[in-house]
């Protein structure tokens, strides 16, 4: 339970103020800094929940082949080469040749390269030892397996039926999309049936054997309208009667019989194993077929309000570089939280373990944990380290968000908040980020020295804390582009739960473009009238939630050392 800090994205709420941090739902509005994006046009933070996602390329996660988007649909979103999932454990299957006629040790290492070997070839799972020969799938040659399996796949009665259904509904779909404005009820419905929601709703309405059927369309009004509309098109006659055809549609007498004679659990295919297959799968785990691996995609992301691109990956599937990458970490200062008293405790522990490795680690651990805990009724200082990613120095001002008082206000007004947080009120500077190479060489030396100073300091302060109640608010340390400031938290005696509070961080930075007139409208210029020659200064604010950890009630902490 190390202290943490997360940044607020206002996309879920109507107001710019974040929800009180003690609400469980508030966690959905806060994100780690590295998960956030920053839109330069809107001058706003964006998160994965609010950005618009577009697919910029498809690839197979196993063979890493980049599939042209034209053939993705024809190949039914799955790899059309040699990649298969084990139906049993979802591992990737390997193609192996049959055993050479009389060679004992081939069994020991079936992971031989398949370029040489005897047909028939089959698929083998390295993890659970499932092989496709069990279900009667073997191959004449070890290449183009998907194409070899395609024949079976396409000739399956379900697949044929599905193709016919698609053909049947095609004229209707074409007609409705062209004349959607004429049909009022249908038009209203069609707004929602973009391909994604349609796919999602069909996935939800899927008929799972043994699970009650959920049909959202029959309940809603729009659904009824659609049913009425369906009558316009001619009735569909299925090619075969499903019930009589005896294809392994679930839930028949045969299944009941099978379940009655069941001897081991593994004879029944788990729901998870059957769920991924496209058609109704039989209950028998011995009937499971290898699955072509679903494709994955690279995604580009856009700002939801101005549609500017925030993330645009390089075309190559396995490249981790981006043509456009506007992440919040390059714009907002990175903040890290620490509790000096806990760190000092951990330090002591580390030193002692490093010195005498034989010392029982468990006792030290317990000691460390209790020493680093937040005890109710005490006052602790905490450190916030601000790292400036910008090439210009910034001025940071901290403010505790007002929402903190809300819990006490709605419940009983007499109850005091469980803790009080004091933050440095005056703005403090954070130096500009310099390229790492400028000080990389002497960094280590500096670092080492400072670190030593740091922990001596920490130790010293802790001892002082014990005696007198003097505390440091304000700048504690400055190095390179990092400024560490101290704050303190006062816990009441009856405090419980986590020490979690919202903090408003505003910072002033120098604008890059000389005429930032349009952006000035959104950001409040703090010192724009100082002098006409001075560089343009702009202000940006964002909310964060700081979580210092769990409060240990007094009684427990007293008992702990005795044990």
């Amino acid at each position: 339970m190390t202290p943490s800090i997360e940044y607020y994205c206002p996309c879920l709420a109507a107001s710019p103020h974040p929800p009180p941090p003690h609400l469980p739902s508030s966690t959905y509005s806060f994100h780690p800094l590295h998960n956030l994006f920053f839109c330069e046009e809107c001058d706003a933070v964006r998160c994965n929940r609010c950005v618009m996602v577009e697919v910029s390329g498809y690839y197979c996660p196993n063979c890493l082949f980049e599939v042209p988007s034209a053939s993705v649909r024809a190949e039914k979103n799955r790899c059309a080469r040699n990649c298969f999932h084990c139906p049993n454990c979802r591992n990737t299957l390997t193609v192996v040749p049959s055993d050479p006629p009389d060679d004992g040790d081939a069994r020991m290492s079936p992971i031989v390269s398949s370029t040489l070997g005897e047909p028939p070839f089959f698929l083998y799972c390295n993890h659970c030892r499932w092989d496709s020969a069990e279900v009667g799938i073997t191959f004449e040659k070890p290449t183009g397996l998907a194409a070899q399996l395609q024949k079976f796949e396409d000739s399956a009665p379900e697949s044929l039926e599905f193709e016919r259904l698609k053909e049947h509904f095609e004229p209707f779909l074409r007609a409705s999309s062209s004349s959607s404005s004429a049909l009022h009820s249908a038009a209203a419905h069609h707004v929602h049936t973009n391909p994604i929601t349609a796919a999602a709703s069909s996935a939800l309405a899927r008929d799972i054997p043994g699970v009650g059927k959920y049909n959202p369309l029959s309940r809603s009004r729009a659904g009824r309208d659609k049913h009425a509309h369906k009558n316009d098109i001619p009735d569909y006659k299925s090619r075969v009667e499903v019930a009589s055809a005896g294809i392994n549609a679930g839930g028949g007498e045969a299944d009941v019989d099978f379940m009655c004679r069941l001897e081991t659990m593994s004879e029944v295919a788990a729901l998870e194993q059957r769920w991924v297959s496209s058609w109704v799968a039989s209950l028998h785990s011995s009937d499971l077929k290898p699955l072509r691996i679903p494709l994955q995609s690279k995604k580009s992301k856009r700002c939801p309000s101005c549609r500017h691109i925030l993330i645009k990956p390089e075309q190559k599937a396995q490249s981790v570089r981006y043509k456009i990458k506007l992440v919040a970490a390059n714009y907002l200062p990175a903040i890290s939280v620490s509790l000096p008293h806990a760190q000092a405790a951990v330090e002591m522990m580390k030193r002692s373990t490093a010195l005498n490795k034989s010392a029982a680690a468990t006792t030290v651990d317990e000691h460390g944990a209790s020493a680093g805990a937040l005890l109710a009724g005490k006052t602790y200082s905490f450190h916030l380290a601000f790292t400036n990613p910008l090439y210009d120095p910034i001025q940071v001002r901290l403010k505790k968000a007002q929402m903190m008082q809300a819990p006490g206000a709605d419940g009983d007004k007499t109850r005091r908040p469980p803790f009080q947080v004091n933050l440095p009120s005056s703005p403090f500077p954070v130096a500009a980020f310099a390229e790492a190479w400028e000080y990389e060489d002497d960094e280590e030396v500096m670092f080492g020295l400072e670190e030593d100073e740091g922990d001596l300091d920490g130790m010293g302060r802790q001892q002082r804390d014990g005696r007198s109640k003097t505390r440091t608010l304000g700048v504690v340390e400055k190095r390179a582009n990092v400024t560490v400031v101290g704050g303190e938290v006062i816990l009441t005696k009856e405090a419980r739960g986590r020490v979690k509070f919202n903090m408003l961080v505003s910072y002033t930075y120098r604008s890059d473009d000389p005429d930032g007139a349009e952006e000035n409208v959104t950001g409040t210029p703090s010192r724009s009238h100082a002098s006409s020659k001075a560089p343009e200064l702009k202000n940006f604010s964002f909310y964060t939630v700081v979580d210092l950890g769990l409060i240990v009630p007094r009684e427990e902490s007293r008992i702990d050392p005795d044990i």
């Binding site: 996660p61 990737t92 040489l116 993890h127 995604k299 396995q318 981790v320 620490s338 490093a354 010195l355």
Partner: protein
């Protein structure tokens, strides 16, 4: 802010390029192992550089990039197979900024840059791990698995869990560099 991780000076050998190798690690066939620099090999790790390809000449068995960490009790063993009737070991190549957690067994063929592997994992033979991938603690990766870039794998057998954020590369790079600077001898011995 950054708490140093102390080690006793006597335990680690530091090379000119900043590699720190524990004397308690078992390094077999060191002439076949390349360390990129600023790489840490923790105590109890076993690196099998002796399992080389048969045939004459010099052969690199295991190559590690810069800012790597081989955790305590890790086993790094080159993968092997019988190809056209010949049993052979194949080299293992590991990129820069790769952290491997404690007690993990690695038999991968290739590990890209900026890869994080958790504790107590088994990375099967001929596994290919692409850049910026992450393997959660206690994951079993079966042989011949391919782990695409920027994906998190977990479970037994290891499966795709989620895409990692776009800034993973910067984060891992900062983290591995920070780890190296934090990893320092006890000041009392200086």
């Amino acid at each position: 802010m950054d708490v140093p991780i102390y080690y006793t000076r006597a335990e680690y050998i530091e090379t000119d390029t900043g590699n720190k190798v524990s004397r308690r690690a078992t390094i077999a066939g060191p002439q076949n192992i390349i360390l990129g620099g600023k790489t840490i090999i923790s105590s109890g790790a076993i690196i099998r550089g002796d399992l080389r390809r048969t045939g004459p000449g010099h052969a690199v068995v295991i190559s590690l990039g810069r800012y790597c960490l081989i955790g305590e009790g890790c086993v790094m063993r080159p993968p092997y197979k019988t190809y056209r009737g010949n049993f052979n070991y194949y080299p293992m190549k590991i990129g820069d900024h790769v952290h491997i957690g404690a007690n993990t067994i690695v038999e991968a063929a290739t590990i890209g840059n900026h890869v994080e592997i958790g504790k107590n994992c088994v990375i099967g033979k001929f596994t290919i791990i692409k850049d910026c991938a992450k393997i959660a603690d206690n994951t079993m990766i079966p042989p011949n698995t391919v782990i695409p870039a920027l994906s998190l794998f977990a479970g037994s057998p290891g499966r795709f869990v989620e895409d990692l954020p776009e800034s993973t590369q910067e984060m891992v790079e900062a983290q591995t560099k920070q780890y190296y600077t934090r990893f320092q001898p006890l000041p009392s011995e200086r």
